[in-house]
Symmetry: C2
Subunit: 250 residues, 2 copies
């Protein structure tokens, strides 16, 4: 049997029914706090629960495209602002009982967005909102989404170390102080301003100067800061390593 004949007689229904969804852990920084995009589910199962934006991958749709589409639906984003959002694959979750309806494998994605307008509910959600990550402990997320979020936060914290993706939380032009704010927010602790400044400028391709400065100093005083844009590096060498905490290692 050649490949032509084989395909003509092939029956996809012979294989077990599985559905594939793309879910998104979308992060942004608002008011100096890390926020996560959540929707309140309008349908069963878990109706009324908060969950990650996501949905079934359509026929002929790439996995990453499905994630971007879901993100666009819940944020109202489109065109250039949407292109500025960084989306990467996080991991897939396929425990047999993770969804009571049927076998559903979720290909989770991780997104870094600059500060965006308030979220707008999409088609299958009552409500969509940017929720402070610090408040997640109080909310019962649907499915295994709490685990997915935890994995996404881990990945995000780690990605800031060796990639320039922190810039994706900011406008196209930013100050070193704003960049430091991203690190402090995502990592959850203060960094030394002077050392951070020198370090960032010493990593080739991390940021490049625009030549301009901010119009005003900080709201509570201080000189105007120089403006930078993201450089052309895809990886940081040397990396900006977090101080090792013993408990994360063992």
């Amino acid at each position: 049997m050649n490949e032509q004949d084989f395909l003509a007689t092939y029956d996809p229904r012979a294989y077990p029914a599985v559905a594939v969804t793309a879910d998104v852990v979308a992060l942004t920084i608002r008011d100096g706090a890390l926020h996560l995009l959540l929707i309140r589910r309008g349908e069963q199962p878990y109706a009324g629960h908060w969950a990650l934006p996501g949905g079934f991958v359509r026929p002929d749709e790439e996995l990453a495209a499905a994630a971007r589409r879901e993100l666009a639906e819940e944020t109202g984003l489109d065109g250039e602002p949407l292109r500025r959002v960084h989306v990467e694959q996080l991991a897939s979750y396929g425990a047999p009982d993770r969804d009571p309806r049927m076998r559903i494998v979720s290909v989770a994605h991780l997104a870094f967005a600059p500060d965006l307008p308030d979220a707008a509910a999409g088609t299958d959600a009552d409500e969509a909102a940017w929720v402070p990550v610090a408040e997640l402990a109080n909310r019962q997320l649907a499915f295994d989404h709490a685990r997915i979020v935890a994995d996404g936060l881990d990945r995000a914290r780690s990605k800031l170390e060796y990639t320039p993706l922190a810039t994706r939380f900011l406008a196209p032009e930013f100050t070193i102080g704003e960049l430091r704010g991203v690190y402090e927010t995502v990592w959850g602790h203060q960094l030394h301003a002077g050392n951070f400044h020198r370090k960032v400028l010493s990593v080739p391709g991390f940021v490049e100067s625009t030549g301009a400065s901010t119009e005003h100093g900080g709201s509570r005083g201080g000189p105007r800061a120089r403006l930078y844009r993201a450089g052309d590096a895809r990886l940081l060498h040397p990396a900006l390593l977090r101080p090792a905490r013993e408990e994360t290692v063992r």
Copy 2:
């Protein structure tokens, strides 16, 4: 409608048919060279081509369990030796046209195995073999498996930097020289023996001494070496960083 009623009337067939496979990029070191486990496909499509071991995820089977099962089928491994193989999820590949039969999403896994006996063909393969990674350029892999392998090799090289997984390529007890051999093989360049030795011993939890030494010196001379086993660290702090190559960064 409550959740009970909802599930009773729910029709999984209403969703587009997708199949999910688990494929494995299994790496080992034989004769000082990095090898990859490949099978020669016995069925359409791509009959006769070399491909990654893998297959459909069964109902009620975890993704990682499916990967381990496929690995076991092709290597003949079982029990304790199989447990010693490290398996982790790599990424999912879901381009709509990656398989001519139907929409198939592959959840690729990455495995690190100690030197194993020759592979034995499983049920749906003519042949299974450990193939030197250096020879892959001459082989036309089925589907998008060349890309998956490339991603797996990248991940493997990077994982050696910040995890103790290099030990998974070795027997439970090993010498520092053997461990250095793993790094040199996977990274593809020589390391300084003295500095490597000191560095490994200085990373907390990377290796722990067994107190014993090898029975004999090296085949071409040299003293007996002390034996170590893997320590309890899951991450290496500080990491064993590769020297940065400019071209990998931009």
